[in-house]
């Protein structure tokens, strides 16, 4: 039995009682075995969390890795011909994601070298670290150390070797770093809402990851978001009026981006991840966070409070949200690419049958890229950016008065603005014609 007394200092106090092959039996407590394999001693992490002292180290580890592998295979997240970029922040979740992806790659390499025909290539892995120091100048001192640590960590994860891309967040504005940094600061300063500022930074972060991924030939972006992170996201989205687009953000796959995002740790909880880091000695680095006083922080504290009351609450929240209908882009798109192995193509087809066939094209908010609810759009808006954006971004990110709005638009990265122009050009007649063109018999509109 795991030692339950809070005063116990050592992690595995019961284990040391074995003497000459005989297990010392406490009058009150008996030594138990791992509930899964029934062979080994259970691990105690002593972190006060649930399920402590039930599984041995091996079974615990294989549980977590198993969830990762299941997510990867059943959603065709990583296939032999892919080139995968892992977003690495230095935190526990992304450290575990990186570790697991590396182990998957090692296994693939082993199989490749052992196979006779070498038909299945080994997928490529790169690592991206986003340097946000331009947004948080106070952190500047810590960043170079963090980057050095990231570099050495990535180096240690070879063979197979992995490229490291250190991406300054201001790179979304262009290559001139001084001008870009300046523009970033100006842009963030023009957002008055605290939460809006935090969220805008998240959107820019994703843009910078997308940029480095597509510029370097990656076709998948691995993000280490776990169940706990998604639980908070469910509540923040609800509270910001983003109920329509919520289901797009919490699936295993998000292919609305140029480089599809995959979440292989979606089914793992924070507690498992931190325990795994402890178990495997995976080091992490936590950059001093800008003090967050907005809604995002309030929700995190709320979820932590709920977790105290019931440790399964995060899972329930995500499970509920998972019952919402996802979007057509929440799956890896099928492909006729001959490079993709047949097995993968078959799996994609089988998986995609689960979704209803409606391939409706959605309009997206240029700032946060969320699918727009039809009822949100207002047509008589003088400002194109305002008209194209979702109601949440309109409230918490866009400036409220007309002149500031124009200036704000000029500060946004080109990629966001170009979407607005595209949105404007498509009028309803053209849009409809595009949708039905396969059914039209005559090319000439006037003949109708």
């Amino acid at each position: 039995m795991a030692c339950n007394s809070s005063g116990c200092e050592s992690g595995g106090c019961y284990g040391r009682e074995k003497d000459n092959g005989r297990k010392a039996v406490d009058v009150k407590e008996t030594v138990t075995l791992c509930v899964k394999c029934k062979c080994n001693e259970p691990m105690t992490f002593g972190d006060g969390g649930s399920d402590d002292g039930r599984f041995c180290a091996e079974c615990f580890r294989s549980n977590v890795y198993g969830k990762f592998r299941l997510a990867v295979t059943s959603h065709a997240m990583i296939t032999p011909s892919d080139n995968v970029l892992v977003a690495f922040s230095g935190g526990s979740s992304s450290r575990v994601a990186l570790q697991f992806v590396h182990e998957l790659q090692v296994k693939a390499l082993k199989n490749y070298e052992a196979s006779r025909d070498r038909s299945l290539p080994v997928f490529g892995v790169g690592v991206a670290f986003v340097d946000e120091s331009a947004a948080y100048p106070a952190l500047y001192g810590g960043v170079s150390d963090a980057i050095a640590w990231v570099r050495s960590t990535v180096l240690s994860l070879s063979p197979p070797g992995k490229d490291l891309h250190v991406v300054p967040i201001e790179s979304v504005f262009g290559s001139d770093s001084v001008e870009a940094r300046d523009r970033l600061v100006k842009l963030l300063d023009s957002v008055s809402d605290e939460t809006g500022k935090e969220d805008l930074l998240l959107h820019l972060k994703m843009l910078s990851l997308q940029k480095v991924a597509s510029e370097n030939g990656y076709n998948r972006l691995v993000v280490g978001s776990c169940t706990s992170r998604l639980a908070s996201h469910v509540l923040t989205a609800t509270v910001k009026g983003r109920g329509y687009s919520l289901s797009a953000d919490i699936q295993h796959v998000d292919a609305r981006w140029k480089v599809p995002i995959v979440l292989p740790l979606r089914d793992c909880v924070w507690q498992e991840i931190t325990r795994l880091c402890h178990l495997d000695g995976l080091k992490t680095v936590e950059l001093a966070r800008h003090p967050q006083s907005g809604i995002n922080d309030l929700v995190s504290s709320f979820v932590a409070l709920l977790q105290e009351e019931n440790p399964s609450r995060e899972c329930t929240i995500v499970r509920t949200a998972a019952k919402l209908t996802p979007f057509y882009f929440n799956k890896i798109p099928e492909t006729d690419d001959s490079c993709v192995p047949m097995a993968t193509q078959r799996r994609l087809k089988k998986f995609n049958l689960k979704y209803d066939g409606s391939m409706t094209t959605e309009a997206f908010c240029p700032i946060c890229n969320c699918p727009l609810n039809g009822s949100d759009s207002s047509e008589d808006e003088s400002d194109a950016l305002y008209a194209a954006s979702c109601s949440s971004c309109r409230f918490q990110i866009l400036p409220q008065d007309g002149s500031s709005l124009e200036q704000f638009g000029s500060l946004l990265p080109h990629h966001m603005i170009s979407q607005v122009k595209h949105h404007q050009k498509v009028d309803s007649q053209t849009y409809l014609r595009e949708k039905i063109k396969d059914c039209l018999l005559l090319d000439d509109e006037e003949a109708v």
């Binding site: 609800t238 919402l324 949440s392």
Partner: protein, 347 residues
Amino acid sequence: MEASEAKSKKQGASRLCCLCNQRRPVLKRPKTLQQICKDCFYEVFEEEIHQVIVKNGLFKAGERVAIGASGGKDSTVLAYVLSELNRRHSYGLDLFLLSIDEGITGYRDDSLETVKRNELQYGLPLQILSYKDLYGWTMDDIVKMIGLKNNCTFCGVFRRQALDRGAALLKVDKLVTGHNADDIAETVLLNILRGDIARLSRCTSITTVYIREGDLHTYAYFKKLDYFSTECIYSPNAYRGFAREFIKDLERLRPRAILDIIKSGEDFRIATTTKMPEQGTCERCGYISSQKWCKACVLLDGLNRGLPKMGIGRARGGANGDHHKETKKPASAGRSLESKQCGSLDF
């Protein structure tokens, strides 16, 4: 002279009601943070309710309408405003007050006195139904048996049915309740937290005037309405409390977030197949039910048999399943059980 003139001008310039620009503002409206005078506030408040009623075609002339009245601020404001609008806009409605006595000493007995006063003040006939008469149990009895966890489940289920029974007794066509925007927002959050996707889709589909709780307080205060303002003594452990605390904190950061929660609730992409359960009737009492027995009967049966956990949490075979076995027993076995059927009304 000039100095005092300038002073009063300065006061006048920045301190006139935003809406009428005539009277002195006496409050900052919680919903919009506008500075407005009393009369304008009454007007916008009452107009908002009137618009929802008209736009949604909630009532027809000649209908009998029961107002769920607890004596609290929500139902008091509702009763006051509805009777006022009924008069002003000639809705032609026959209004009644319907109050439920859950049998909570030191809480409900006090608030009922308020409702009795409302009957006189607003000239609306009052009907009181008690849990004791309907179910044979008061909340005091129930809490004595089950303690302070899950008692809100019992009370909520019993009250909803009691309101329906009362409405039938009064032969009314519609029942209105004083749920406000904050209540709905709490419910949306609760349903997310507790995994009830079906309820999540239903809770925002009923026609509601999304009045913020702050506005209700303000209206009741300025109109000097007579209401009872204490928390139910059995509620401290209610799970809803978590959601309520969170919403209060959220409101401080961003007041419009409460309405945003409701918007999210309305926008959630929920498959239509999950929306409505099949409507049937309870085999035991004839009340509307989606299962063999309505929830009230299940809970009541549990209470009567000394199994208070029945009907709480996930059903294992279900009380509805268990019941099937029980019917085979001879009827004489349950001495006072048979008499404790819920309600004596035919449906």
